[in-house]
Structures are given as C-alpha cells and as structure tokens.
Amino acid sequence: MAEYLIKNGHVFDPVQGIKGDKADVAIKDGKIVDKVGSSAKVIDAKGMTVMAGAVEIHSHIAGPKVNLGRIYRPEDKLFSCTPTHGMERMGGGASIPTTFKTGYEYAKMGYTTAMEAAMPPLFSRHVHEEIRDTPIIDEGAYPVLGNNWFVLEYLRNHEVENTAAYIAWLLKVTKGYAVKVVNPGGTEAWAWGLNCLSIHDPVPYFDITPAQIVRGLIEANEYLGLPHSMHIHPNDLGNPGCYQTTLDTLALAEGLKTHNKFGREQVMHLTHTQFHSYKGTNWADFESGAKEVTDYVNAHKNITIDTGNVTLDETTTMTADGPFEHHLTGLNHLKWANVDVELETAAGVVPYIYSPNISVCAIQWAIGLEIPLMMKDGMRCYITTDHPNAGPFTRYPRVFKWLMSTKAREAQINAFKHKDKVLSQTSIGSLDREITFYELAQMTRAGPAKSLGLSAICGGLKPGMEADVAVYNIDPDKPIANPDDIEKAFSRCAAVFKSGVQVVSNGEIVSNGHKRTLWVDVKTKENAQVKRDISEKFVKYYSVTQNNYEALGHHFVPNPFAIEVDATQV
C-alpha cells in the first residue's frame, strides 16, 4: 500500500490532546504511523485543518424504511440527480439519496464511518445489501430490540441473562452492532393502534412497562460488555412536554455502571435529543427544554447524547416509532407509510417540511443548537441530524457553521418569520459560545468513536489507529471573515483517506476504497432455554423458518469486520 505524509496541517486530535498545532500525519499500511520513508507521497496541508475521519453515530441510510422513502418519494429526486462521473456511479435523492450517493457524500465531507440506526432484524439482509452498495465508508447497523417479543417476555420476569443470550444470538444472525431501543413498548402497542407515552404505561398483553424494558436492556448490554451502550429513542418523542419523559428515562440509568473492555464510559446513549427536549403543553406555548435535559446529562457521566439538529429543509421522516409517524401524518397531512414487523418492531415514513416561517420549526432549530452549546463535555455530545429526520446529513457543514459562529446564528434568527417567538421560547439568543475546531473534533470524531467502543480503532490520529484522515481547506489560525467559509470548507474535503487509501482529492472521489461492515460477535455460554425459545417462536409465530433468518455469506457481508466480545466468563 502507498505511504502518505500529510505535512504542515493544523491538527486537531482529542485522542492525543492536539489542539491545532502544526504537525505531520504519516500513513502506512492502512494505519497511522510515527514516520514514513522518503518515498511517501506528500500532501501539503499548509494552512489547512487536519482531523481524523468523522464518525456518524446515528443515521438512517440503509434498509427497508429508507428504501420505502426512496420508492414513495420520486419528488425527492427532482433536481438532485447526479450523473455517472469519473469513479462515481449515478446517484439521486436529496433527503434519501441512493446508496452510492450516500457513500460519496459522506466521504466528501470527511466522514469515514457511519452507523445505520435502526435495523429490523427480520430485514437484516436488506440492510446489508444496501450497506454493501454504499461505497467507501465503514458501516454497522443497530438491530431494534425495545419491542421484541423475546425481550418483552424475558424482561417481564427480569431475566437479564436470557435477554443477554438472545441479544448475542441476534447480533450474530443479523450481523448487528448494538442494542437499539425505539419507543420501548410503544411500538408493540402500535400493532393494536395504541402507544406508550410515559415510561410507566403498560404494554398491552405483555404486562411490562417501558421502564422495565430500558433498565433490563441496559443490564443485559452491560452483562455482555458490548462495545456500544444501549442506544435509546425514548417514549413520547416530539410532543410538547416530552422532556419530562426524557428525564424519567435518563433517570433509569442512575447508579448503573459500565462493564466493557472497549474504553466506553456510558451505559446509555440518548439519541436525537432535540426531539426529546420540548416543554410546554401545546404547539402554541411550545418551548425549549434543552436546559433541563442538558443539566441532567452534564451531571451524569454515564450518559452520552447526540443532537438531532433541524436543518430547515424539506425532508423525509422515518422511524421505528410507528405511532409517532401516524401522529405526524395527522399533523401535516402528507403521505403516510407504515410497516409493522412481526414479533419485532414497526416503522413509519412521512415527508416533512421544516419551514423557517413556522414558529415550531424555528424553535426546534434553536433547541438543536442549544443542546451542544449547553453541553460542557464535547466528548459526550455528538452532532447528528438524525438523518433524514431533522434534516439530511449533507447539511452537517451548515450545522457546524451555526455552532461555530454566533454571527451565522444571528443571521438565521433574524431571517425567521417568528423571530420574537424563537427568542422568547428558547435561550438561543443569549448563548454566545462558539464551538471550537477542537470541540468539533470531539463532537464528530473522538466522542462518537469512544461511545461506540471504537476508540482504539478510529476517531483519532494516534499511531496504530486506522488511517482515516480528513483534510479541510480552512485555516483555524485566521479569523473567519464570512461564516459561509466554514460551511464551504466542511462540505468538500481537500483530501480524505480511508484505512490508508486516498478516497477524496479536491472534493472529488478518487477511489471506492475497501468498505467494511462492522458487527459484534459475542461468545456466550450455551443457554438451552433461549435456544429452545428461539426455535419455538420460529415454528409457531414467524413467517419464515429459523434456517432462513440469518444474513449469511459473501453477498450480504462481503467484507466483515467483526469486533469480538467474550462473555463466557460472566
């Protein structure tokens, strides 16, 4: 493999504590190394910013509901098609780009790892087929477990060990990465057209509450010592007053400690926090609860969060929170798609337009920015748009601009039709913090990598780590005259390396890399009861046989990267 030396750039690497010093980054055999030979290809990064490849912790980019979005929204392709071009296959789609376009767009912004946030286990093959067709970036997928019948039945009796054995089996057969929970209990209730809006609402028939599910899944996750923590989208998403349910959910992690060998410190990851930080009692007195939620998270070190920033675009919402999407179509009257998945989960899809002329959308925008600006530790708060729910991931550079420049925020606030309402219902106007390049590297690289248990592999530039490197054409030492320069620089990298291969040069794709599928291979003790329960459920209730459930082989996971966990000694 070619050797590279990225010279004279301003390096930001929270893993080594480098804060913009001029330093060289050497690449050999796919890894960061101390030094390379004189034949190494030199990339001159003078006056540029060098960071590790960014890590996406929560995004909906592959699988059945994403593709349903593509199928049912031909209008999303209007004016967003990209022709076959150089190394690139043709692409299309703004809020739900085709798989090829997804890979290219992430890479061009310097992202080299991304996690698909909700994989229905029965559809794991579909998820993996799309992951295979998404070039360059390494990807993993989180199977959804918060409404799974096995989990509901085991945790009803607080059988943590059986839950853990089932999770280990499921990760293996679906080639999954982490335990995802979406509207615990509420999505199962949705199969009857019902919902669970608080953590104490009983789940119909199963005689369990969301609180028991969440607590039990955290315990099972830590019993196994998985790389990532339980990753939750709590109950009552998106409703005025929902911050209280969020605080109740966060409190379920109180006193729980992590147990893993991956350097992860949290036991719960709260996703798209913006959607869960609303105060008020209706859409008229709707206001920000960002302070209450971030105060709690700041004080509790065993929790990490991501933001879910609203980008003020037309987009396509999609979530395993089936009842929420039904609620949303009732609000905006746009087309509603739904898929209930036997024994496991559900999903809904509804287009949404975050208009700057609507006060609620503008307040949502402000809350999404308040959260990272109020979080004290950049290593525990990560920037996402919950792509495509709050906005497409291609808008990250714009979110960075708003976070890094008060001037940019003020300009946007002044452009809102209901500016006064935004200022009265949130504290965005009084926040003068500007996120620094170093904090940005924490929030988009080192932080998410650590939360995912990947801190030894990616998210930093320490020798021995994967050579995932992004070079941005912006000089951090010079004052930024125009905030739009931030957006421009982070949109198209000067150079990107993925595992030592240069994949982007001057904003153009120059290689399709060697994309890998990340999954977690857990070894557990033989558990006869769980084995029997699994085979019984397939015989009686699934519509496929057990032997036709596993995502196997070359076609689905052509280039696996298995992270091994030994839970046999627990």
């Binding site: 593509r70 296959r89 299309g92 199969a191 998945v341 036997e342 699934y542 076609h555």
Partner: protein, 438 residues
C-alpha cells in the same frame, strides 16, 4: 440413497414459501421429489428436470431456424448490441435474484438503458398510488399473529397464490389468533364467484369496473353518512354491514390484486383503497398489501430504488435516472417505437404485453435470457438459456411484504450452463472493454 433438503424457498410467486422440502439424488444432480409446495411450485422445481430443455444459447436464423452458439458468442452479441444501441430497453428482472439485478443495473448504467420490471403490467399502478398516498402495511407474520379481519379485493389466492391463505392469511393459528380460521372474518370483493369468494363470510360481488365506487362507499359508510340504495351493484345495507365488520376488528388487512390494479381506474382504485385503510386506522388497526406476482418482482423494485431512486420505469438515457411512467415505461416505449434494442430477462413480455408492443421486438436486435422457451424467446434474435434461479442457483429475493429471503440451490444445473449472474457479469466486463471503461 437420496438426500432431503429442507427450508427450500419456492421461486414461483410473491408468497415466497420457505418451508419446501426437496429430495435429490445422492450425487445432487437429479431432483426427484418436492414436498410442501403447491402444485404450481412443485411443477416449477420439476420442470428444471425436463429432458428436452435447451441448455445452450441459440441464434435465430434468417430462415426462422435456430443455430446453437457458445455462451461467449452470446456474450459478444449482447454486449455489442447494448454498446451500439442509443436507447436499449432492459426489461424483466422479476424472476431472477437481486445479485443478478445488481449486475444488470451496472450494465444499464454503462449502456444508458431504460430499465423496467414486470410491475409495468402488474402492480406499477400500486407504486404510483403509493407515491400519492403512502401505504400503511405490515409483514405477513403480523397477519398470521394478529389479523381478525381479512379482505381479498380483486385477487384470487386460491389459484394464484395457493399457499397464501394457509401460511399467512386465513387458516394459521398465530399468537393472538389461536382459533385460526374461526378467529377471522373474510370479505372477498370480486365480480366472479371464485374459489376464494366461496370461502368468504361476505362476498361483495361488485359490478365489473366499479371498484372505486365501492371503496368510496365503504369510506362513506365508515363515517355513517348517506348512501344511495345501491353502489356498484351492492346494496347500501350490505355495504354498511361490511363497514361495521371492518370497524369492529382488532387488526385488519386488505390484500389486493390485478383485478383492481389493471382494471378501469387503475391507480385511482388503489388511492381509494389506501385512503380506506387510513380511515380504518381511526377506528382500529388496519393494513393493506399488494399481492405481488413474480417471486422477486418486489426485489427488483427494491434494487432499482436503492441504486437509482425509483422502483420501475427508470430511464438512464440522459446519464442520470429519470422516472415518468407513461413516458419511460416499457409498453409505451415499445409502442412508440423509441427502442432500438430489446434485452429481456426473467419474464415474458411476449405473452403479457399488448401485441402492438410485442411486434416491434421481432424487428429489433434482441436478447432473451430465460431458462424456458417462451413467446419472448421465440421472437428474440438471441435466446440465452440459464440455470433456474432458486433451483440450480441461490440468491436473495424479496417476498410480497418486502421481507428478504435468500433462495437455496438444490441441484446442479446441466453441465456448462451459466447462471443469470454469471452471464451478466461476462456481458458487463465485455461492455466495459467496448466502452473503454476501467
């Protein structure tokens, strides 16, 4: 000694049964017996064993006879045809696996083709309605475990999807449906007294072509508003009775077929059926699902969508994907004479397209990739027989509810035969050479 292979997937219809057992000879070369499959599925497996099967590509000669050619010659003809064509049509894809579809899409992109699948003559209208209205749906296991109200509208699963009712929709005893058939009310809407209709609790014998009116009347009845004495040949009383049954269920599902998608009003029928389903969700839980025909037509739509962004009728001639059914759909392209090469795989337009769209195929450079002899292979210049997908090679397929299931190989194909994927890969590589693409 014989060998029994279990959990085999049946490559016939969109029901995609995965519990078939196949008995093969000890050397794995002969398929002897098929268990659990329906009569059509069994025949599909056994047909691969036909003695008179064509096993090598053949070129149509001037005098109407066929001349056997090698696969290499067939690859050359196909690649040259696609390289020279300005607007080739690559149609079919519904009876092959997603791996082959994926290679096919690369070829289409290289040759800037129009790509389409059999939804063109089947559930394409459903896809248009889905784009208008959305689609509240579920997997078939949900129907098995929860459904107590089932509607078959314009479809006849007793004959077209023979194991649908026993595996998913009427008879199975699921988690919340322990009494099986006894726990379900069945409504069939069909102008004919089909074998499915004979099993119904209520058979709404709609006047032919009046489905839209009846769907609309059901929505009116749900709201308790005024109805004329009779709509679409059904009395108001009966419509109200049906509406009450639907409303009073815990979990309902509408399955619909080509009786509504390809009869008068087409996609508007489906718009109304989806609207009815949404209305029913104000009272209880309701879903709707198209009864997809070919075993992997759904998969073709999925692969098109994640690679090009649209589920069918995709036009790549401008170098990016466009979608405009009526303009970019196969029958319209053929009847307008816009196509200058025809590539067919895994389907039979010769038997299913109007004659005005089939005639042009006979005058064009054309390839038909299909294990069977069909009307399409008969009018094509080159016929390339391939291994039976799902019998002689595996590969991923999508069931009518979009659940992906990986098909199994149960016997070896006749010696020297290529699979769809192998043949297409050769064509792709040759096409790249011709186009000078790395």
């Amino acid at each position: 000694m014989t060998k029994t292979i279990t959990d085999v997937i049946c490559p016939f219809c969109g029901t995609l049964c995965d519990d078939v057992e196949v008995i093969v000879s000890d050397d794995g070369k002969k398929l002897l017996e098929v268990n659990n499959a329906c009569v059509i599925g069994t025949e599909k497996f056994l047909h691969s064993q036909a003695k008179d099967r064509v096993t090598r590509p053949r070129m149509h000669q001037e005098d109407g006879s066929w001349k056997e050619v090698s696969y290499d010659e067939a690859v050359e003809y196909t690649a040259q045809m696609l390289a020279k064509a300005r607007k080739p049509l690559m149609y079919g894809w519904s009876s092959t696996n997603c791996e082959a579809q994926s290679v096919g899409n690369e070829i289409a992109e290289l040759s800037r083709a129009c790509c389409d699948n059999t939804a063109a003559v089947c559930h394409g209208t459903t896809l248009i309605a889905l784009q208008d209205e959305g689609l509240p749906s579920c997997t078939l296991g949900e129907v098995k475990n929860r459904a107590d109200r089932v509607i078959f509208w314009g479809c006849n699963p007793a004959h077209a999807h023979p194991r649908h009712m026993s595996r998913y929709s009427i008879f199975p005893r699921g988690f919340f449906t322990g009494k099986g058939q006894m726990s379900r009310k069945l409504i069939v809407v069909d102008p004919r007294t089909t074998d499915t209709a004979k099993m119904a609790d209520i058979h709404l014998q709609v006047e032919q072509g009046r489905d839209y009116e009846l769907l609309n009347a059901l929505r009116v009845a749900l709201r308790g508003e005024w109805l004329p004495d009779e709509v679409a040949g059904i009395s108001a009383e009966k419509i109200r009775e049906a509406a009450d049954i639907l409303k009073s269920g815990r979990f309902g599902i509408i399955f619909f077929g080509m009786g509504v998608t390809q009869s008068i009003s087409k996609n508007h029928n489906i718009d109304e059926a989806i609207a009815l389903t949404k209305d029913l969700n104000e009272h209880t839980k309701f879903s709707i699902m198209p009864m997809r025909g070919h075993y992997n037509v759904t998969g073709s739509g999925e692969v098109f969508a994640w690679q090009f962004g649209f589920p069918y009728a995709v036009d790549l001639t401008r170098g990016f994907a466009r979608y405009n059914p009526g303009d970019t759909s196969s029958i319209d392209l053929l009847t307008r004479g816009e196509i200058d090469a025809m590539f067919t795989i895994g389907s039979d337009p010769g038997a299913h397209f109007p004659i005005s769209a089939v005639k042009p195929i006979a005058n064009l450079p054309s390839v038909c990739i299909d294990p069977h002899l069909t009307p399409t292979s008969g009018v094509s210049k080159l016929h390339v027989p391939v291994a039976f997908n799902g019998v002689e090679t595996g590969g991923n397929c999508y069931r009518m509810d979009n659940v992906p299931i990986d098909c199994r190989k149960v016997v070896e194909p006749p010696e020297g035969m290529l699979t769809d994927e192998q043949f297409l890969t050769k064509v792709r590589d040759r096409l790249k050479e011709l186009k000078g693409v790395a």
